[in-house]
Symmetry: C2
Subunit: 193 residues, 2 copies
DNA sequence: TCGCTAAGTTACAGACCGGTAACACTCCCG
DNA sequence: CGGGAGTGTTACCGGTCTGTAACTTAGCGA
């Protein structure tokens, strides 16, 4: 069959890419390793030669998602060196773009909901990235010179988290376009203080 | 065994109560009908006499959660008739209380994440309640006389949605206590306009 | 006491899942 | 040309899941 990803990548990368896509669409518990392997143009044995278990594949996928998130942050920072306001606006625009193009939310957040067991190693990866991202946004907010940069950063991340998860249970056009307005209003209110 | 709910209720109510509790703790896909029946002090056959399928039980549980949410709204409204600000403060306090006492978030939101298939009938129940709740909060915000009551209501619901889902991937003390501060700041900034 | 209904019990079917064993193949490097 | 690592293929194991069948028991009203 070799559905889509018949790219010139090794089996391992194809498996991670396919798994990420399927986990995103169907949920982690909604797809089996057999389907992942087949969709990646390989088979289950090869999958288990690269990953010790499904859980191992899951955390590899989440790490990959986190790495992408870090890259976005770095790109934003590199695009407007020293200009905190431009960086924040880019962050808002990037988030809004995500909301527009995709209605299944954040893979890390979804995983934390699906993997209810707190002891699951995936939670470490998720918590680490979320904390890192909050700290990064806080640093940017500090560059704005507002009164309470930490609370502004927390408000913005919470707002984004809510918008992304709400998009899955909100069938009006709402959250995607609303986010920019809500976030901008929050930023403006903090800047005014 | 008859774990906990050996109350004087019919099997049906015990099943719904137990299912809600287990779905909440372990996730919908993380618990089987057999475990639900056993924990409810009955058995699988009786469960299937009252519900046509696990999906049927799921939507019954979600309806029950939604009904509880409506009751909270009604209680808030009844406690401060005509006083929109007091109602809003109650809503914030109630939400903060929820964040403090529970770290597994909103059952409806979690279900919308777990049941990735958009055609699943549960999504109808979830979307309906979320829309209703947004409209209810919007009505209250209109009573405040602020400039843009709808955007304030959307900001607050999105903030709560984010705080509840973030609580599952945020192991610092954060979201619970932060929510009151963030929400109050948002309300204040809208009132000031 | 009779008889009906709701509930409990046991067993099972069929599907899917994660994970493994054994073996055949291909392709690249020396 | 030879050999070994990486990959593909098939079959299987044990467990769990939803859902059903057939039968027994308990309670309650007439």
């Amino acid at each position: 069959m070799e559905k889509v990803a018949a790219q010139c990548l090794g089996p391992r990368d194809r498996i991670v890419g396919t798994a990420r896509s399927l986990f995103h669409k169907l949920g982690i518990r909604g797809v089996g390793v057999d389907k992942i392997a087949e969709e990646a143009g390989t088979n289950k044995m090869t999958l288990y030669r690269h990953f010790d278990s499904k859980d191992g594949l899951i955390i590899e996928c989440l790490r990959s998602v986190a790495a992408e998130g870090r890259k976005f942050c770095n790109d934003i920072e590199a695009a407007h060196p020293g200009d905190a306001l431009a960086q924040l606006n880019d962050w808002i625009a990037f988030a809004a773009g995500h909301l527009e193009s995709d209605c299944r939310g954040c893979d890390l957040t979804n995983a934390s909901v699906e993997l209810a067991d707190t002891d699951h190693p995936a939670h470490r990866v998720i918590e680490e990235f979320k904390a890192e991202h909050r700290a990064w946004l806080k640093k940017i907010c500090e560059g704005l010179g507002v009164a309470d940069p930490e609370m502004l950063a927390n408000t913005l991340t919470t707002l984004l988290e809510g918008a992304r998860v709400a998009r899955q249970s909100d069938k009006r056009g709402g959250p995607k376009t609303d986010f920019t307005a809500m976030a901008s209003a929050v930023v403006a209110s903090y800047a005014r203080k």
